[in-house]
Assembly symmetry: C2
Amino acid sequence: MKERARRRTRRGGRTSASPPASPESLINRLPLVTVLSDDGVQMIHQASMRLLKEHGVLVLDYPPARKTFSDHGAIVEDELVRIDEDTLMHFVSQAPENFTQLGRNPANNIVIGGDHMVFAPVYGPPFVSDLDGGRRLATLADFENFVRLGYMCQHMHHSGGTLVEPNDVDVRERHLDMLLAHITFSDKAFMGSVTHADNARDTVTLARILFGVDAIASNPAVIALINASSPLRFDDRMLGALEVYARARQAVIITPFIIAGAMSPTSVAATLAQQNAEALFGICYAQMLNPGTPCVYGSFLANIDMKSGAPCFGTAENALALYATSQMARHYGLPYRSGGNLTAARIPGAQAGYESAATMLPTVQAGTNFVLHAAGWLEGGLISSYEKFVLDAEICGILARMVDGISLSDEDFAWDAFEEVGPGNHFLGSQHTMRHYTTAFYQHSVFSMDNYEQWEEKGSPDSYRLANLRWKQVLKEYQKPKLDEAVSKEMQEFVDQRRAELRDRKERTEWKHS
Amino acid sequence: MKERARRRTRRGGRTSASPPASPESLINRLPLVTVLSDDGVQMIHQASMRLLKEHGVLVLDYPPARKTFSDHGAIVEDELVRIDEDTLMHFVSQAPENFTQLGRNPANNIVIGGDHMVFAPVYGPPFVSDLDGGRRLATLADFENFVRLGYMCQHMHHSGGTLVEPNDVDVRERHLDMLLAHITFSDKAFMGSVTHADNARDTVTLARILFGVDAIASNPAVIALINASSPLRFDDRMLGALEVYARARQAVIITPFIIAGAMSPTSVAATLAQQNAEALFGICYAQMLNPGTPCVYGSFLANIDMKSGAPCFGTAENALALYATSQMARHYGLPYRSGGNLTAARIPGAQAGYESAATMLPTVQAGTNFVLHAAGWLEGGLISSYEKFVLDAEICGILARMVDGISLSDEDFAWDAFEEVGPGNHFLGSQHTMRHYTTAFYQHSVFSMDNYEQWEEKGSPDSYRLANLRWKQVLKEYQKPKLDEAVSKEMQEFVDQRRAELRDRKERTEWKHS
């Protein structure tokens, strides 16, 4: 622990002219938190098997998937696919327990699964916000800024995916701009497009140019977020993308997207059973397509406010479900995705802080392997917030120390300090403190420990304002990582060609409909 | 779980004219979180025994305590008391595993120990703050307001102690005013004065008038916070009060007060060993005085910011130590006090929210039995904040649901809902939802789930402002609980008599020094 901590601090101390250090892979050394007994895990499992066998899953607008299920032993009637436990588990068991996703910088390769933990930024918001301008539709410039923030952040292990929706770019071409931004403004691993099978194919093509065809056949260079359209339903868009990635042996996160009370019953038990059925159904499909495809058991679970219908985050029900789901994923030997710094709040105030921590602590204590939304999330995922990003990163840094656990070496018991100081005196100047003060305890980057008087002298800034100063400073210090020119040129040529095709197709479609 | 939740909601729905419902005792049904192996627990224990035997504890300005230790087998040289494991553990083992503290309203009696959890408000701040006036020295009027807030709050099980320092009252008489405020403005259990042995005696006298001499001999009506003056030091003020309470068989919380890096070495292991030595030393003393005295193993542990020297809260080191200390307390079969909604922040913004939740979740997940500072704490304990009180209470309410765990009955699996709704449809109108919507999920009282547009229409209020409206509403709804007139008169007479004695003594002292 000590050596890890020391390295972390040294790297943190580099000047702004140096590239940011590769984030250190997190290994969770803590006992994992559980909320279900072994019997409880079995009950959830059996309930899911009953749902899949008796109720089934709707597979909408995608006949190839229904054929795949039918060919592999499922019962298909119209759009409904039913599957029994033996068939399902035969395929689910073929998914690997862990895998390595490649980063453009090999120092940023990450292991997903086991006791590894990966933090990735917010995914999906149409809006951005900052203290200066409030909420507004996001643009490609915002997207690039969030890539830069993630690249500069020592506690983000992954560049993420749709950091914001670049609304100023034609929706057909957006995936190309987002991929180029991840690849050129960062050298961390990134996520693939899931908006259409064609976009997934573009993602794979770019990854092949960047990493090489053979490299990404051995280890995935792309991870993609495949959502179920809960309850018990998948659609063509997601299944089409899933098929492309599975055939290319890239990684997929199968995530039921559930606001309990609306997309599932109001009870946690039923919600867990439904979620488990949906996640396993998607993973089963990936294994039917290409056995051994890296799959992550995903969970995105909030609950509805029964008064207003709004989604709630940071609640007890959500935390309990998060812990229980981690037990289910481990039960099947699958990597687990969940959690993040989630909140329903619209600005980064007290509610945002409470709800985020009340989600992120359970996320880490559950041993979640892939943590999407670890930084930047506001308003139930509608906003990527610049300030929230750096505030969340602080919590990620704190939790990165927590997973190291408590070291119990002779040096940690500080016998010489007790000898030197004696009862009643302080330890500030002791030799033991001198040996450890540079690495003892987490050093905050945006939270302030100032007392009231110091704080008033600085103009009584709240966390929102301090975070505003912080992200601007980080962007100012940002320098683009190097990228091989030949590779860059080849990617650009491919993107130019695809843009031309997409624009041509669009014009023809518009002509047809005019 | 369902029945508990239902009752909670019904009570919450009472009109403002009714007295607030007695808070439901919390039973923690979750598996407790651990961070130490059994060997680790033994290592901390052995290190503590070594500290107590080889280094000893300073007992300052209180010869009776040194004599007690000496009479019971400890080695006393000047002010230093050393004690071996057998002697220490002989006495520690006589403390009960749990006990019941009486509340003036018997419905508010509380069990301390085992799987019970008690939330009590902030303790000790000299300042109060609110959104309207910022930070200022606290007064008795503030003290009374915080008693009212605690009385009205369904998630506070205890009225607490020094909610704020009533600075406008002479320091010699303050304890009388604080006790009267707890007794008359609330009917929940309260804490005793520890500022002087005489004040502890006054506390016991008032408790005897209020509850009866026999009643408080069987079950404590007072619980008192006895701090060690760390490292490895106790003083006359605390030990004098401890002696009064132990002889009257009232409960004491023995709490080392440690900012690690200053009052203990920088490492968690050494800090845990020192803390364990101090806590057991105090508990041992209570048992030497009166075997069977109800004792709580207390922990107040923060770490220093090595750059500025300021105390930090919500850190990884603090959370790890909190979990580890709970394991130590359980190892000795003792009730455990720690945690709360702690933060270094000066206003209830994002930092306060994060740090508070990052302390309070571990507090609950560690199975802490007595949670002081569960509501109202700001600026490292220098401020009792009106707004923070109601924001913290929200988190307490959320956690009160979390400890119920996940119910796995047939009804919880909602089979009829899946049958009724079928794949692809929402559950909002299902019979199962209709049966459960009034109790499904926690209902927020101050956090807002409004979307951005609704929130803008309301004037874009942050949590600070919403909390400001909330506490004012609660104080408006407050009604004093009934108190027997004869008892009230007897207490008032005692207080008047003590005030006269204290003023008389003060005048004579002033005359002597003039």
